[in-house]
């Protein structure tokens, strides 16, 4: 039971607004951890702090990839965080819409490959080999995520569910040890949600990727996650197994309001 992501005392202010208030959280290797909370609770801000889009005012984010040393990652640029092995998807889908599906995934390989301008112009043997590896690797990821039949379509032409899958495919192409999913099931129909459930479980079991996700679909959260953190007004108000959370009066109050007496 190794902790691979440790967040201590994280605080983030936007002007006078405290979006995150001394938040503590940790992710254990091989687990699916969920963050839930009402709208505006600071969940996405939390993700943005981890992935380097925001620089938190206070606190520490420590990442310890399996088999590697523990390192502080706050203050790093987003691309360096990704290179360290933490990949993410976005709540509002942010695909490269005028690129093909395969190319979207190939972008994910960027930080694991190295050929430069000269290599691209001369197109030497090592560049060709690297390019071929990238294509094969990306295609395998598409097969794994079940969208390999769309390989040459433009990303903008994909149906919604496939776009969500492509976001995940693109993120795992960076070979992360920790994958952050920001509302992966938003806007999906029940069947698509079920398929997503399978995909996420498969990523954990077969590819050894730990998962931290924000999700509003309670059925999905309860069936998937090993541990749940509940956030409200930037503070952690509860943590535990799905079973603990579902019966926690504080959580119910946060979701349904003070006057709820049932």
């Amino acid at each position: 039971m190794n902790t691979i992501l440790e967040v201590k005392n994280l605080t983030m202010d936007f002007g006078g607004l405290r979006a995150l208030d001394h938040l503590d959280l940790n992710v254990v290797e091989g687990e699916i951890t969920a963050i839930i909370g009402p709208n505006g609770a600071g969940k996405t801000t939390f993700f943005n702090c981890i992935t380097g889009i925001y620089n938190p005012n206070e606190g520490e984010i420590l990442s310890s990839p399996p088999g590697k040393k523990r390192k502080k990652i706050n203050g790093l640029k987003p691309n360096h965080v990704t290179k360290k092995g933490i990949a993410r998807t976005f709540q509002n889908i942010r695909l490269f819409s005028n690129m093909t599906v395969l190319e979207n995934v190939m972008i994910g390989r960027h930080c694991r490959t190295s050929s430069g301008i000269i290599g691209a112009i001369l197109r030497g043997r090592s560049t060709i080999k690297e390019e071929k590896d990238v294509v094969d690797f990306s295609y395998n990821i598409l097969k794994k995520t079940g969208i390999s039949h769309l390989v040459n379509e433009f990303a903008k032409n994909l149906p919604y569910g496939a776009q969500r899958r492509l976001e995940i495919a693109r993120a795992i192409a960076t070979e992360p040890f920790l994958l952050l999913l920001d509302e992966p099931a938003a806007g999906m129909n029940p069947r698509e949600t079920r398929e997503l459930d399978e995909l996420i479980t498969r990523l954990r079991d077969e590819d050894n990727i730990s998962i931290l996700m924000i999700e509003h679909d309670m059925k999905l959260v309860m069936s998937l996650s090993d541990r749940i953190f509940v956030v409200d007004y930037g503070r952690k108000i509860a943590q535990g197994t799905p079973c603990d959370i579902i019966n926690n009066p504080i959580v119910i109050k946060a979701y349904l309001g003070e006057d709820f007496d049932a």
Binding site: N79, A120, V151
Partner: protein, 400 residues
Amino acid sequence: MIKFQEIKKSFLVSLWFMFLTFPIMVIRVNPIEKIVEWRWKNMIIVGIGSFLLSFVWRYMLKKREAGEKRAETWESGKTSFMQRILEERRFYIPLVTGLTIIAVAFPFIFSMYQTSIMTTALMYIVLGLGLNIVVGLAGLLDLGYVAFYAVGAYSYALLNHHFGLGFWSALPIGAVLGFIFGILLGFPVLRLRGDYLAIVTLGFGEIIRLVLKNWNEFSFGPSGIANIDRPGFFGIQFSLQAATIYLYFLMIGLVIFTIIVVNRLQNSRIGRAWIALREDETACQAMGIDKTRTKLRAFALGATWAGMVGVIFAAKTTFINPASFTFLESAMILSIVVLGGMGSISGVIIGALILILLPEYLRAFSDYRVLIFGAIMVIMMVFRPQGIISNIRRTYKFNE
């Protein structure tokens, strides 16, 4: 009933146009004989003309909307005519052979004047392809591209003037200087995007031009530098005619070289990073792409090509002064990229040929040149904003 409404609409349009053009088209005041002339005939022509044109306009708009709807139903099985020509071997090989024969025979069939114009067009093709890296692929709107062109031209002119350096040694120096200036401009504008970037690059272009214009000791000011050597061939100096043909083939070579390089770049790791940067900067960074380096690379590479063409420009005209590097040049090159199709190589080539050759061969209409130019741009932006040939991405085949 729909027909009647259409006629009513067109009628209103023609009325509006007649009213708008009334002061300039109908009234003519003759101050010498103190008569006011009323040219009602013009008004009728404007009325009928706008009445008919409004039908054509609406017909084209409808056609475009229909086309968009077709594109939205997402099976893009049908490729356009242009794309098929470019993709299928059956069309592609005869096309390339034909073009090669024309390109080789051109200077021997046509006059020196024609060859010279064609050389200019080829220079703009390379400039367009260079700017295409910055604007089309990386999505960075650069309005000061001509600055790098000026850097290349002046580096050859000054090196030739002071040290007698030849064309062939100046060509790589011009390219390297373009690269360096690309990075110099790139650094301060890394944080900017869109409109802000456009304004800063516009300013940069003007700064370079104004420095060249006012720093007399360095660049000889507005009077420019004359008697620059034409390119030689291992020490042999050509006659004027031979030099023109020589330059033409040199440009053909450079165009082919540029096409190969840009084509390889846009399907490489770097090229994909540029396109990702254009599509979504945040997502691009989150996928592990270094934004700073990617942008600098685009700026520097685009500028390298401008620097190279600058050297050739100086060698071709044998005289340069700051007046050749105004904002209008930047706008022209940008128009080539936008008209041809951002990110598409064949589009940029066609765009350059149209925008450079057409004005030369339409000398008869030279009074209306800018008017026609403006009209073409407006019509293109309304009916085909993606350019003549839209960007085609490479498809990969897997047999499993």
